[in-house]
């Protein structure tokens, strides 16, 4: 049934789509965008109320809403016919009569579906100039959301998201006729852990983020495809930067992982990417102090250390470290008996009820599964115990408490920090090497469903900071002008295949922008323990 194909012609282009497909989706496959407002692929069942997507269907007596009309065999659809264009121009004219047209101060400008469609298909002037526009003051809906009623086109996407996806109906359509607006009860707030999505869903600048308020103009933003570093769900995101500063995180659709959504925790979890107090040069211990040095010096020193040691080593890694960094750092210590641990902060779980298998996960470590597949363990306490007997301790950007720092500093082993920020308690470290954070490098994370997904560099690295895999790769390649060190994350990834066959043969280009599910197997599997939620 589902595979039965229906043949239709849309603006002259023939397409075959499964039975039951709506005209709007069929048109997409023919490369034609039918303008629309209330329809959103992320929301169940379009209410077909904005009437923007009206198209001409031959033999139908009226224009049909493309968002709910299903294709029929032999159907001929005109999206761009005079009749359809006129109807859409009519809708746009009506949406604009009460619209404030405050684009110059509206955060949505530049990514506004009203602006865009009016530009494409709207009338040149208004015929409403004789009347005052409807006016209602801005309302505070929740911790991060403001409602600007004047800009609202009543598409009800926000109401339906809360009702059908979050399943917590705290928004409503109030009143009727042209007095209608989006309302909230005074007893309630828009504070559901996923409520920020209404800002993305809103096609205009009616629901806006306080966090992003007047921060940047859409056209000044650089957008980078990435993966949320918030938790082990691995939601796909876009990192928006302005002048090399991360200003906003937005969901990037991935039907396998997060559909069109991200949680508010993930959305707000970006300030650390902009931290200014960064280690910017390799620091090499010289007597009682550290000297800033160049990379050659630092890498030589690290190489000597690694090669000169025998016995055991401990890696204390951040759960936000890339697969490439985790893998190569471990490979770098290949000769030693290594205890590798990944740090997994734990928080509350917050599911998005309407979407199966989507939740803010308690494990706030985006690469927990990647680390496990590479043989990292989650028993942090055990790893700290090993520190007391290890010859080498590598801290890979882990976030250490003062007590832990003290414990490491007091241990017998040499301490090497690959870090983004200076940890005072590790003053005694032999080397403190500046590494990039996830927004400053390319890499991959493996999410809890063993989906490996790429993230891309969104801002430049501070000073001389380098990805940790680069440091490890240089050490592995040995001193001198060697050609075998990886120079890109993709090359670093390819090196993992030898030791971990699970990754063998897989390439960055195959992963694309939405990732690939890994097959079963892998080094860590079987020895991995789930995180004990009570402990940390």
């Amino acid at each position: 049934m589902a595979d039965e194909l229906v043949n239709v012609t849309i603006d002259g282009a023939p397409v075959s789509v499964p039975k039951g497909t709506t005209i709007i989706e069929a048109a997409k496959q023919a490369g034609i965008l039918v303008p629309h407002y209330c329809y959103h692929p992320a929301l169940p069942v379009s209410p077909a109320l904005c009437r923007m997507c009206l198209v001409e269907v031959e033999k139908a007596p009226k224009l049909m809403p493309a968002c709910v009309t299903q294709v029929a065999e032999g159907q001929v659809v005109h999206v761009g016919s005079d009749k359809a264009l006129k109807a859409r121009e009519g809708v746009l004219e009506l949406l604009l009569i009460n619209h404030p047209l405050d684009c110059p101060i509206c955060d949505q400008a530049g990514e506004c579906e009203l602006q865009d469609y009016v530009f494409q298909e709207g009338r040149a002037g208004t015929r409403y100039s004789e009347y005052a526009k409807r006016y209602s003051p801005v309302e505070d809906f929740g911790p991060d959301v403001l409602y600007v009623p004047n800009r609202c086109i009543l598409c009800t996407r926000c109401v339906r998201f809360m009702e059908d996806v979050a399943e917590e109906p705290v928004l409503n359509v109030s009143e009727r006729g042209d007095r209608a607006y989006i309302g909230i009860s005074p007893e309630q707030r828009l504070d559901h852990p996923w409520s920020g999505n209404v800002v993305d869903l809103c096609p205009v600048g009616s629901l806006i983020s306080k966090d992003f308020l007047h921060k940047a103009r859409a056209w000044d933003l650089d957008k980078t495809a990435s993966v949320c570093p918030g938790c082990s769900q691995g939601c796909n995101i876009t990192i928006d930067t302005r002048d090399d500063v991360v200003v906003r995180i937005r969901p990037r659709p991935n039907l396998e992982v997060n559909r069109h959504f991200i949680c508010d925790y993930g959305r707000m979890n970006y300030r650390w990417l902009n931290r200014g107090d960064r280690v910017e040069a390799p620091l090499v211990k010289d007597g009682g102090r550290h000297l800033a040095s160049d990379w050659d010096t630092a890498l030589d020193r690290l190489g000597q250390l690694v090669r000169g040691l025998s016995g055991s080593a401990v890696i204390l890694a951040s759960g936000r470290a890339s697969t490439e960094s985790l893998g190569l750092v471990k490979l770098m210590l290949g000769r030693l008996s290594v205890t590798a641990a990944v740090q997994v902060p734990v928080g509350d779980e917050a599911p998005l009820v309407g979407v199966p298998n989507l939740a803010l996960r308690p494990e706030r470590a985006p690469n927990l599964t990647g680390a496990e597949l590479l043989g990292y363990r989650t028993d942090w306490a055990e790893a700290l115990r090993q520190v007391t007997s290890a010859g080498l301790v590598i801290v890979l950007d882990a976030d250490l408490s003062e007590a832990d720092q003290g414990l490491i500093a007091a241990g017998p082993g040499v301490v090497v920090v690959l870090g983004t920020v200076w940890a005072d308690g590790l003053r005694s470290a032999e080397l403190v090497l500046p590494v990039t954070n996830m927004a400053e490098e390319n890499g991959t994370y493996v999410n809890r469903d063993r989906r490996i997904q790429r993230f891309n560099q969104a801002k430049s690295q501070p000073g001389m900071a380098r990805p940790a895999w680069w440091i490890a790769g240089e050490v592995l390649a040995g001193p001198g002008p060697s050609a075998s060190a990886p120079s890109t994350a993709a090359e670093a990834f390819e090196l993992l295949g030898d030791k971990w066959p699970l990754f063998a043969g897989l390439t960055y280009s195959e992963m694309g922008y939405t990732g690939r599910a890994l097959e079963a197997g892998g080094e860590g599997v079987g020895e991995s323990q789930r995180v004990d939620l009570g402990v940390m």
């Binding site: 224009l63 009519g90 809708v91 004219e93 086109i153 359509v173 209608a180």
Partner: protein, 435 residues
Amino acid sequence: MGYPHPSHPKENPVLSKHFGDPEARSFDGWVKRGGYEALRKVLRMSPEAVVEEIKTSGLRGRGGAGFPTGLKWSLMPKADGRPHYLVCNADESEPGTFKDREIMRWTPHQLLEGCAIAAYAIGAERCYIYIRGEFTEPLKIMQQAIDEATAKGAVGANVFGSGKRIEMIIHRGAGAYICGEETAMLNSIEGKRGNPRIKPPYPAQAGVFGMPTTINNVETLAAVPHIIMRGGEWYKGLALGNPKSTGTKLISVCGHIQRPGNYEVTMGTPMKELIYEMCGGMRPGRTLKAVIPGGSSVPIMSAAEAEDCLLDYEGVVAKGSMLGSAGMIVMDDTTDMVYQIWRLARFYAHESCAQCTQCREGTAWSVRILERILTGKGKQEHFQLLLDLSDNMTGKTICVLSDSCAAPIVSGIQKFRHEFEAYIQGAREPAMAGV
């Protein structure tokens, strides 16, 4: 009898025969007048046979759309194991229409009997009677009738000992014209805003609570017992105009008329006879200017069109309007057409459910343009603007409320343009101040 005026000889009182007779209100009174015989008869028939009889009669929906009732019933799925529902549309809010109110006020059991027969025919055990909230009197009378009929076993868990369960439940509206639209009504019963739904799915597939549902108007259902008793052929024979319009029709006549009220005529009766003979014509010294024949949602007819019109579905269409709910608003030469069209537009703007862009914004803008004209600030461009806007509001929305707002505006400009011109050119004093 007749109410508030005695029946006129040219009327054909079938449904309205007992209007004005308080004794017909009680269960016993109704039984004495032949009531509930049809229901007893139906219980001995198969549901299919009942549907066939209604099909034969040619009965068409009296709520406005004129959809064949037998056909509507036959669209309900058969023995699908799901609960079926009947919804009786007693929301009567279409300006000019007040016939369902009289049916409920005088002959509540006529309606209950019709509901029970319809429920039997479509396999429904429950019938929700949706009565508009303002109808305090019909609400009370209908509830009394249900209580009485339940006590007498005519409705309830075991209808006349047949083992059939047919329950009647009144659902009170709360002030929303749009809930008369059948799918909005379903939402309203479900405890939602009265937003019309997109179709498909049609109510027969997924109606109230997602179950197969038939919605019928009060007058449609009230006609059913008579058809069962006297036969579909009899009803079909009541057609003076077109064979596709059969039976009798209650016409609510209001406005500038000597004897306003409900008149039950055979389909195809000339409108002229209704206005000038049955209703007693215009007030002294006045002449007919316009008629809105089908409740306010249909195009306005000029006096000439009205006087030459046959009262049935086809007859009114032939004169450029629609029979609709047959609420006839009669306007004489004192009527300010622009002002009254503005008042109608205001009605639709007030009642728009706010879903569709064209309706939500278009109705309100229409009001503003008409206000502009009425305050003496009209311009020639306003004609085109009103016509463009009306075109934009027609045939493009979820339900036809939007079209209904456009209909009187477009026909008003067509037929009474000089009245608009008089305001625009300053030949007429502004009817409103300011804005």
